[in-house]
C-alpha cells in the first residue's frame, strides 16, 4: 500500500530543525538547540534534585513544548484527559530512558541534531537506537502491553501543563528559589522569551503532526511507512544546511564534538536503552511531553520518571562526561564504572518488564 506523506510531518520536522539552529545561534549549547533529556536534566538541577553545578537551568523550551501542545489540542478538540496504563512501570521506564539518554548525552531528537552537526558519535547512537527499537518491536509482536488507558478527570489531564505554568510563574516571580549554572552547558541559553515562543510553535506543530522519533522508525520497520520518519529526515537535513550556512559545520568527525564523548560502545548501549524503553512506552521523550500536553496522565508520569532518572543519573555519576580540550590537555570523556553498571542493570530491568508484560491470552 503506497502512503501519502503527511505535509504536517515535513513542516514540523523542518521547523524543529530551524528552531534548533536558531536556539543554538541565540545562545543554547552547540548541537543542543533542542534536547528533551538534557533540558529535563537541567530543570532537575535547577530545582535542586541533583547538584551537578554545570547543568542547572529552568529551560523554557520544555515549558513551551508542553503548553504549545496543550493550546493546540484545546483549540482543535484533541485535549483528552486519560490515564491508568501501568503508571508505575511507565515511571520506571521514563527513568531508564533518561539514564540511557544521559549516558549517550542526548535524547533521540538531540541525536538527530548532533548528526546534522557532523557528530559521528551520534551515528553510532542511531545504530543503538535502531537496535533498541528492534528489541522493543520483538516484544510488541509477542503481545507486550502496558494495558489500556481510560478517560480521566480534567485535573489529571492538566497535571503536567499546570506544573509547567507553575514553573514558569515561579521562575519569573521568584527566580532566587532555583539554582542556575554559572558555567558549562546549563549557563548557555537563548533569551527566555525567544526560547518560550519558539518552543510553543514547535510544541503545537509536534502535536498536530504526531512527530515522534521512535514511532517513525517503528512504522518504517513494521509497515514500510516512512511518513513519521520523513520528519526525522527533515530535521537532519535542515540542521545540516543551517550549520553549513552559519559556518558551524566543519565536516563529519567523532573527535571533540560539542557535549559528546567517543566511548562508542556506551554511545550505542545508551541509545539501545532509549530505543527499547521508548517503544515500550509508545513514544520518544519529545512525544511524551506532547502527549502529556494533550491530557495524557500516563505520559505526565513518564515525564516525572524522566526528571527523577536525570537526578539519579547525576547524583550517582551515571551520566556520560563530554570530551574536552582544556589548556591543550585532551580528555576523552566517557562513562564512569557506575554508569556502565547502571546501563547493564537498566537493560536487565527492561528485559524483566518486557517479559512480565506479555499477554498470555490465547485467541483464534
Amino acid at each position: 500500500m503506497s502512503k501519502k506523506i503527511n505535509i504536517w510531518v515535513l513542516i514540523a520536522g523542518a521547523v524543529v530543525g530551524i528552531a534548533a539552529v536558531a536556539l543554538t545561534a541565540l545562545g543554547n549549547p552547540a548541537n543542543m538547540g533542542f534536547c528533551i533529556a538534557c533540558f529535563l536534566r537541567d530543570i532537575a538541577g535547577a530545582t535542586k534534585l541533583h547538584s551537578a553545578a554545570v547543568v542547572q537551568y529552568i529551560r523554557p523550551e520544555i515549558i513551551g513544548l508542553v503548553l504549545g501542545s496543550t493550546i493546540i489540542a484545546l483549540a482543535t478538540g484533541e485535549f483528552k484527559p486519560r490515564a491508568g496504563s501501568s503508571p508505575a512501570v511507565r515511571f520506571i521506564l521514563g527513568a531508564i530512558v533518561m539514564i540511557g539518554a544521559l549516558v549517550f548525552l542526548g535524547c533521540p531528537l538531540r541525536m538527530v541534531i548532533r548528526m546534522g552537526g557532523g557528530d559521528l558519535n551520534a551515528f553510532v547512537g542511531l545504530v543503538g537506537f535502531a537496535i533498541g527499537i528492534l528489541i522493543g518491536i520483538f516484544f510488541l509482536k509477542r503481545g507486550f502491553s502496558l494495558k489500556r488507558s481510560y478517560t480521566a478527570t480534567k485535573v489529571e489531564g492538566f497535571a503536567l501543563p499546570f506544573v509547567m505554568v507553575a514553573l514558569l510563574a515561579l521562575v519569573l516571580i521568584v527566580p532566587t528559589i532555583f539554582v542556575f549554572s554559572e558555567s558549562g552547558p546549563g549557563s548557555k541559553h537563548a533569551p527566555v522569551l525567544a526560547a518560550l515562543v519558539i518552543a510553543l510553535i514547535v510544541g503545537a506543530l509536534a502535536q498536530k503532526s504526531r512527530l515522534c522519533m521512535v514511532s517513525g522508525m517503528r512504522d518504517a520497520i513494521m509497515f514500510r511507512d516512512f511518513n513519521l520518519l520523513s520528519g526525522f529526515a527533515a530535521i537532519f537535513v535542515v540542521v545540516l544546511l543551517g550549520n553549513i550556512i552559519l559556518g558551524n559545520f566543519s565536516g563529519f568527525s567523532a573527535y571533540l564534538q560539542p557535549i559528546a564523548h567517543a566511548s562508542q560502545l556506551w554511545n550505542l548501549l545508551g541509545m539501545v536503552l532509549v530505543g527499547w524503553g521508548s517503544v515500550l512506552l509508545g513514544g520518544c521523550p519529545l512525544r511524551q511531553l506532547i502527549l502529556a500536553g494533550e491530557g495524557n496522565g500516563d505520559s505526565a508520569v513518564t515525564v516525572f520518571g524522566m526528571v527523577v532518572g536525570a537526578a539519579v543519573a547525576h547524583n550517582f555519576k551515571l551520566a556520560g562526561s563530554a570530551a574536552s580540550l582544556t589548556d591543550g590537555v585532551y580528555s576523552a570523556g566517557g562513562i564512569a564504572t557506575s554508569g556502565k553498571i547502571a546501563v547493564v542493570i537498566a537493560a536487565v530491568v527492561l528485559l524483566v518488564i518486557s517479559f512480565m508484560n506479555i499477554a498470555k491470552k490465547e485467541r483464534n
Binding site: 502496558l146 489500556r148 509497515f223 491470552k361
Partner: protein
C-alpha cells in the same frame, strides 16, 4: 496516480490488541494489514488494522468471537 479508496480501519487502545487482531485475521483468512494509524483517527497506540470494506462483517465477527477489546471501527477514504 494514487487513488483514495474506502477502507475499514480498526483502532485500538493497545498495540497488543492490534497484533492480536492481525493474528486472528491471518488465521481466518481475512484480508487486511496493520498500518500506522491515520492522522485523522485518534489512536492511543498509533497502530490500526486496515482492510477492504468487504471484510467489515468478518472483522466484526472475529472481534466479537475473540472477545478482543478495540477502540472503534471506522470506514474512511485512504490512499492505497
Amino acid at each position: 496516480m494514487r487513488e483514495q479508496q474506502l477502507r475499514t480501519v480498526v483502532t485500538f487502545h493497545t498495540t497488543a490488541e492490534a497484533m492480536a487482531l492481525e493474528q486472528i485475521c491471518k488465521h481466518r483468512g481475512i484480508g487486511g494489514k496493520l498500518i500506522s494509524a491515520p492522522r485523522q483517527l485518534s489512536a492511543d497506540c498509533g497502530i490500526a488494522w486496515c482492510a477492504p470494506v468487504e471484510e467489515t462483517a468478518a472483522i466484526r465477527a472475529a472481534i466479537e468471537e475473540s472477545v478482543l477489546e478495540i477502540d472503534r471501527i471506522h470506514e474512511i477514504m485512504l490512499y492505497v
